[in-house]
Structure formats: C-alpha cells, structure tokens
Amino acid sequence: MNVLNAIIQGLLLGGLFALFACGLSLMFGVMEVINLAHGDIAVAAVYLALSVMAVTHIPGIWVFVIVVPIFVVGGYFGQRLFLQRSLDSGPITTLLVTFGLSVVLQNVLLEVYSANSQSVNIGSLVSGSVQISSQIELPYLSMIFLGTAVVALGAVNLFLSRTATGRMVRAVADDREAAQLVGADYRHLFGIAAALAAGTVALAGLALGMYTSISPSSGPSYLLYGFAAVVIGGLGSLWGTLIGGMVLGLATTLGSLVDPDFGAMLPYLVFLAVLAVRPRGLFPKRALV
C-alpha cells in the first residue's frame, strides 16, 4: 500500500527533477558545460517570485508568468556577456567560474533574504487530492507539477525539433565548427540554450517552492539531483532525463519508506552506482531529442 503510493509519488516527483535536469542536459549537450550554479538559479527564482508577490500581490500560482520570462532573458544575456568568456578560456575555468557563481549567488540571497526557509504560498491548492482508491491518493499539486514538467519538456522538444533556430541549436551541439560553416553564430545559439536552461530551471524552482520550503543554501542539492538525473538518463537526451528524474524520484520516495535520511541518501547511492557501472547512463545517445 505504502509502496504503491510511494511509487506514484516518486514518479510525480520525478517530473520535477526532470525539469531541473532539462537545463543541465541542454547546456551540457550544446556547450559541454555543467553550470554548477544551476540549482541556485532555481532558488533565486523562488526568492524573486516572493519579492514580486510582495510588491504586486499577484497570486502565487501565476507568479511564474512574470518570473520565468525574466530568467529566460537573464539566461541569454548572462551566457553571452559572462559565461561565454569563461567558455573561451576552457572547461576547467568554466567549472570554477560557475562554482564561484554558485557560492556568490547563495550568499547574496543570504544577505538579502536571510537564512530562513521560505515557500511560495499558493493557498488552498497545496492540499487537496484525488482519491483513486482507499490506499492511493494523487495530490493535485503533484499532478500539476508532473503535467507542467511534461508540457515544458515537450515544448522544449518541439522547439528543438521543429523550429529553424532549434534545429541550429541541435546542429551546434553536434558540431560547432560545421555550424559556423553554414553561417550560424554559435554564441547566439549558446545564448538560446542558456535561456532555455534558465527558464526551465526557474519554472522547476517555482514548482519546488510551492511544494516545499527552500532556503538560500538549497541550490546545490538540486544541482546534484539534476546532474544525477542527467547521468542516469543518459547525457544529452531530454526524454532520457525524464526517465532519470523518475528513477531519482522513486529512489527518494521508496528510500523514505525506510527512513527519511535514507531517502535523502539513496538517490546519491544510485547515482554513484550508475557512475561506477554505466557512466554513459541508461539511454546514452549524443543527440538532444
């Protein structure tokens, strides 16, 4: 009974992890960069949402309409103006710079918002669920999150496969030089990828902020979970990332049946096991979609 519930919860949670991981997967596939500040961007989105709500009194469930576009634009310019320079210096530099960014971001949030845990209040929608049977219930919120994750991932997928720019993003991920030779400005395309990454992770962060409470230092755990989802699912494949997210979600909920601390540890153990045995993941293919 609990196991079945845990499985369903795990799958729903997986959608959220996948949304976190989507941006990581995209950035790695396109630019070969792991943004160590990825999780902190999600946390920053929540805090920005709180400030926006405090100022404009928009209900929590709609605040993403303002916040996500801000991050999309911010992601594009952050990439072109800042991250691109460290990319030109090399992969180690980029690791170090994004790590530094993560620390700085966490501490700026700490200074501005204090260390208290906060969450986004969305009123009565938090509770409430559908009762499938006497044992199984599907919380509204979790289903909305999974739905959002699937829609968002699907939208990104559509963009990459159906639009000219999306096609070129995939092309530049395959072969940057060849893309230049057909006239593509790879810096612009990198910016697009970063914008998508920032947008999806902001959305994921907001969802998380509604589901649970976050604090300025919550970022790194989400980065690790996101990265784990990418690795487990197979690098660069968006749908693989969804599977990877679900594996992690299951590990979290099933592990929590043993005890809550184990629930926190099991996803990492699964990740390490995958690294040890199949570092290329469950569905390794170098293509993005």
Partner: protein, 396 residues
Amino acid sequence: MNGATLTLEALPARQPAIVVTRSRRPATWAGALCSAGIAVLALLPYIASQGFISDLVNLMILVCVATMWNALAGYVGLVSVGQQLYIGAGAYTVLYLAQHGWEPFSTVPVAIVGAAVLAIPASFLVFRLSGAYFAIATWVLAQVAALFVARFGSLGGGTGTAVPGLDGFGASNLLRDYYWLSLGITVLSVLGVYLLLRSRLGLVLTAVRDNEVGARSVGSRVMIAKRVVYLLAAAGCAGAGCVLAISQLEVEPGNVFNVQWTAYMIFAVLIGGFGTIEGPVIGAVVFFVLQQTLANYDVWYLIVLGSVAMLMAIWARQGLWGLLISKVPVHLFPVGYYVHNQPGIRERQGLSRLVLGRVVQSRNRGGHANGKPGTERAISSNHTTTGIAGETKEDR
C-alpha cells in the same frame, strides 16, 4: 622546437659545458628565510596573544587545504569539489578514536593514514571520470559521507558532538598544542607537495599539467602520479580536519563535510595563483585577511572573494603570485631545471617533456667554472603559458 637539443655529450669540447641545476640563488635565500620563519612561528605561542594564535590556526588550515586542492587541480588537472570528504574523514576519525579512549593528539597520524587509505578505493571510482563528472562525483561522495555519518547517534548524528579527552589540557596549553599541530601539518603539506614536484614523479605531473596525452605518449606513469597526488591531497585535508576537530572541540557533519571548504580552497587558489606552490599560500593569506576584515559584515567577504576569484579565473589565472613574478622572475620553491650558459635555449612551454626524456643533470664542480652565470636561462616548469592543466586558448 626543432632546434633545441639537450644531449650534452654531442657538443664539441670547446663549447662551455652546460650546467643544469635545480635552483638559483634567490631560492637558497628563500629556503633559509622559510626555515627561520617556521622557527619564529613555532615560538609565537610564547609571545603572541591567544586570539592571534587562534587566528593563525585558522589561517594555517586554510593554507593546508588550499595547497592540497591546488596540487590536485593545478598540477594534475583534477578539479575536485569534494575534498571536504577527507576533511570530515579526518575529523570523524579523531572523534571516533577519542571516544574509544585514545588521547586525541595521538589519533592524528592514524586519521591521516586512514584518509589516504580511504582515498584508494575512492580514486578507483572517480578516476574513471573527468571534468564536470569528476567534480560532481567528488561532491556527491562528500554528501553521502555526511549523510552516512549522520546516521550514527554515537557520533553525534546530524548535530554533532564534542570530542572527548580534551578537557584535561587547560585552555592555553591546548591552544599551544593544537597550534603546533596545525603548524606541523601545514608545513608538512606544503613540503610534501614541494618534494613531490621536485621528484621524478613531479616531472611527470608537470608534464601532465601541460599536456596529458603528450605525457602518456612519452611513457610517463601518469596514473600512478595522479593517484599519489590524490592520496596526498586526502592526507593533507584529513590533517586539516584533525586540527578542526581539536580546535573546535566538537565535530559536526554540517561543518566538516560542508562544501564551503571547497569554496575556501578554490577562491584562495584562484586569487593566489593556480599551479604554483607559492600561489595557494599567498591566496590563503589574502583570503584570511579579507575574511577577518569583513567579519562584521556577515558573508560579504565570500561575495567579494567569490567575485574576485571568478574574475581572476577568467582574466588572471596566474593569480597574484603569477602577476608578481611576471615582474620579478623569482621562484621561492624551485621545482624546475635551470640551464646555464646556453643562450640558445629559450623558456619553452612544455619543455619539461623534453627534460623528462633526455636531460643529463650535471653539476659543475667548484661553482660556475666557465665564468658567466649571467647567461643562464630557466627551463622553468613552474609556469607554462598554456594556462590551467593543458587547456589552451582557441586561436580561431
């Protein structure tokens, strides 16, 4: 590159013999100065205030871990974001043994060796990875260790517990003792890295830093070199962890396994200078000074240092030390080879590869017998212009 050859036997007899030494005069001075400095530091507890001594302990922990991180990242190219695993391992070994009746200071050698032993299987896991995978894997290992340790109530669980056996000392005696401990560990760490780099293994490492594929192709034992450095870094960080445990009188997973330590290491090294021995020391000092100066402003020091470190990573990777010695070419910790009386040899990047294969080290008996020390040129493997661990700026 075609022109330089160092097969000394091939030169005609009337040319002055090539002299290759390990260091020049400034280094001997530096060596003497360092020894004197260490002696002064050792005597400080008798003259300086307790607050100052306590600060120095924290500074030395920083120097130690920064040096260890730099050995991994700057010389082997392994960017670890999880050295706190070994800091915690050291601290918890001290705690565990102290709880079982050991005198706390006597646990330190065991903790250090234990961490090195722990690093062996860890290295087999993480060495299969590179780049971001390696970095995050090290981070995850540290997280898992923290979560694992927190399950044991006897070790204090998630909130930590005090280290037994420290109350009998008396506050000032204890301070003096762990001050000397930290001094000893830090000196040993820096010395260890220095000696390692001077050795043949060190030559392999510098070659790896410049160009790993090239180093392998010359037959260098790259894997062994990497593993030795990884173990050394684990040992050094564990030593720092031991000092932490004793100086803070308690061990808490949220503290010793905190990724904050990595932030300290990285920022210190980026500011001081990547890939040199002097760099992390300088960087740690700058870091520490800023930390103390901005102590009243919460975490602004981290924001400032982090931002500076990021900018330096992009634009000034040689760090403060690198900037300094580009004006005044001095190596306090010489690990390269200096060729005297051979004006044709210019400082080359990656020349350490040539040296690795072919140089015949000879000492000219009785000083510079051929008179003119001024024409000496440095084949310095302290620096390359390729930047960090073999990556090059694209010339497109």
